[in-house]
Amino acid sequence: MLQPTSGVLVCGMRLPVGEARRVLVEDVLKHLRDCRGRGVPATEASAGGALGVGLDRVAKLVPDLVDAGLVERRGECLELTEAGDSYALSVIRAHRLYETYLANRTGTPGDEWHRRAEVEEHRLSRAAQDRLADSLGNPRFDPHGDPIPTRGGEVVGQAGRPLTGFGVGEDLVVTHLEDEPEAVFAEIARLGLAPGMRLRVVERGGGRLSVEAEGLRQEISLAAAERVHAVPSSVGGVPLGQRRLSAMGVGEAVRVLGISPACRGSERTRLLDLGIVPGSVVEAAFSGPLGDPTAYRVRGTMVGLRREQAEQIFVEKV
């Protein structure tokens, strides 16, 4: 009830069992899929290097994978078979679903999602994945903007290119954040970037980009900007440079423009349910004795919100 039920992925393949070995098998398959996606050849050496395990361990494993019909050898290179691809996809699905679960349903900080999902992806059976997906409302994208493969094994393509490839002044929407390597993602998480966020590059130079994200100006290193993907913004939405509910003084009345994409899952639904939707007029009524939370009048009711939440609500003067 409190955690998704874990279980062992049953693949139906004649694979040697053993927890550690299965984890390695799944990681190798994921690596092969990753290489294919990036259009680079995969070998035992690349897998060993990417997974940080000895070449000999991978080399010993590969013949079994070939026997099981998951991998094909083409000269030096390793390629996934259809069965291998679908296995890899199911692990990826488990990973992205679990990240979504952590982001939407728990208070786990963003820089921990990936690490935890790396462990849990090997434990979620297909049935458990489906249950998790249902309980999350069958989300289409994970918190990094990666598409979650469906039960049927479909994945949609990924739009967008790195932030570094856009010119100054263009209005953009973030589509994807790469969650590896960890140190770089930690910077992205610290900046509070999230898929769906609108931003604009305002200055570049000195090995950094200056961006305006949801109205806040922030500095971002090139390494991190390389891993933030975006597309030019076409749809209207929350304009840049607007104010946030947290900046309102007591007694001030404002109109809601929208909620930041960084506010996800049940947190977002709850705000919407309480009437914090675009167009609602909100008035800061009073703050608690410790300064936070603040009570707001909205749609004829009084709702207490913490500062962090109020920061995610964009408003304009009535």
């Binding site: 049940s266 947190e267 709702v303 913490r306």
Partner: protein, 473 residues
């Protein structure tokens, strides 16, 4: 699917296909659209007359009850008044009930059994064990509950509990916990099992577990009477009679405050260790204050809460009474079982500032906290030989401070009283709560943790206070 009648499969395929192309913020837009419609209807059908007295009154109340300088003092004051009313108000009916149930009916029952020629062991188990323990539970528990619960319910109906959560949220956030934990904690003040169930209002599993595991630090109704009784006898007794009630209420407040501090500390430790994570969010509706209907509140809270809790206490007290009588009267090696047990536990209890009787009572009283005090009293009577007519039978003292006399004879001091108050806050939850925790978490690990964790501060605090008190004297 051209002209043919669509079937289920083609519907699902189309849904799937169309689903990918929807805007990502679909939910926002749908909610917005529905709200636009609600707003339009409400705008047409609702008229607001300006300047309502009620509105002004509610705003004024919120300025005090959630005010920067007044919010927290008002909270402390309200709790203090409730406790003071309960302690001073419960004294008199408690004495009357004791006189009726014990001094009169118990004697009467003994005579009836004697007249019927019932064997001594039967009279012992039924009258001196089961009846007497139950009588104690009723006379000790009923009056404070019948005052405390309605007062608490009035605050609840009035709409004060969400304000408590609102006021304390910042602290819970600092501990990595959910603001609504203040609500579940408040419910725990009534009954921990109910408090644990109430944790369902917390969506985040991590914060929910924190709230469940720490709920036991909210003093429950089974423990309020223990606190009040011991505080009246030992703390109130240190002051002139006029101030005794206030001092006792202050001491109980201190323990309740300690409970809050421990809740906070335990939440902090949990969210830094086994339940790592940041506090998620807090979106709590603050309902308008509604004037409570005082008479009906008294009626329903007495029926619903008081009678229910009392019934539970009685159900547990009767078998416990039989057990107490038996361990007091079954002799092994020339000593009663009770003597053996008390003797064995005296040494560890000494380090905690308690005594063997108290620890035995806590073992016997695992099913329900309510019967701790009656058990302590009966065991003390047994061990000190103040047992009136026969071993294993309750004492008779006519004076009002019958407890004090008996406990003095049992070697109790102010230190024992203080340590008992703290131990009563910091020990395992009752069996019902343990079962509820298991039912809510379905996890042995969390149930065991929640059961044993309270002992850590309990042992540290009691041991520390005992050592300090002994070093100073």
């Amino acid at each position: 699917m051209s002209a043919a009648k669509p079937d289920a499969r083609s519907v699902l395929e189309a849904a799937h296909e169309l689903g990918w192309r929807l805007p990502p913020d679909l939910n926002d837009r749908i909610t917005e659209a529905i709200y636009a419609e609600s707003s339009e209807i409400a705008g047409r059908r609702v008229r607001r007359r300006g300047g309502s007295m009620r509105l002004a009154w509610q705003e004024a109340l919120d300025r005090i009850l959630t005010g920067r300088w007044t919010g927290i003092p008002a909270m402390v004051l309200l709790l203090g008044v409730v406790l003071w009313l309960t302690i001073t108000g419960a004294n008199y009916p408690s004495g009357m009930l004791a006189e009726l149930l014990i001094d009169r009916w118990w004697h009467g029952l003994r005579e009836v059994f004697a007249a019927m020629g019932a064997p001594g062991w039967l009279r012992g188990i039924v009258v001196d064990g089961m009846y007497l323990t139950t009588a104690w539970v009723v006379s000790v528990m009923l009056p404070p509950m019948a005052i405390f619960f309605p007062l608490f319910t009035i605050l609840e109906d009035f709409g004060y509990l969400p304000r408590v959560a609102f006021n304390l949220d910042r602290m819970f956030k600092a501990a990595g916990a959910h603001g609504k934990q203040a609500l579940t904690m408040s419910m725990g003040l009534g009954c921990n099992a109910a408090g644990v169930v109430a944790c369902r209002i917390i969506d985040s599993p991590r914060e929910r577990l924190i709230a469940i595991v720490t709920n036991n630090f909210a003093l429950c109704n089974g423990r309020w009477p223990t606190q009040m009784l011991i505080a009246s006898v030992f703390v109130g007794g240190l002051f002139p009679p006029a101030l005794g009630g206030m001092a006792a209420a202050g001491a109980v407040m201190g323990v309740a405050g300690l409970g809050f501090a421990l809740t906070w500390l335990a939440s902090l430790v949990l969210s830094r260790t086994v339940l790592r994570g940041e506090a998620s969010t807090f979106s709590l509706e603050l309902p308008p204050y509604r004037p409570p209907n005082i008479l009906r509140t008294f009626y329903t809270s007495i029926i619903d809460r008081t009678i229910f809790v009392l019934f539970r206490a009685v159900v547990f007290a009767m078998p416990a009474g039989a057990v107490i009588w038996l361990i007091g009267n079954v002799h092994v090696g020339g000593q009663s079982l009770a003597h053996w047990m008390v003797g064995a536990l005296d040494a560890p209890a000494w380090w905690l500032g308690l005594n063997g009787v108290i620890l035995v009572a806590y073992v016997v009283a695992i099913p329900a906290n309510e019967i701790v005090i009656p058990t302590v009293l009966m065991l003390t009577a047994l061990v000190t030989g103040q047992a009136g007519a026969g071993a294993g039978v309750m004492f008779e003292v006519e004076e009002a401070d019958r407890f004090r006399q008996l406990l003095d004879a049992g070697g109790w001091t102010v230190l024992t009283g203080v340590c008992l108050m703290i131990f009563s806050l910091c020990h395992n939850p009752c069996s019902t709560t343990i079962y509820t925790i298991w039912r809510e978490t379905r996890s042995l690990k969390w149930t065991v943790l929640a059961t044993l964790m309270p002992f850590v501060p309990g042992i540290v605090l009691c041991g520390g206070i005992a050592a300090l008190a002994r070093a100073l004297t």
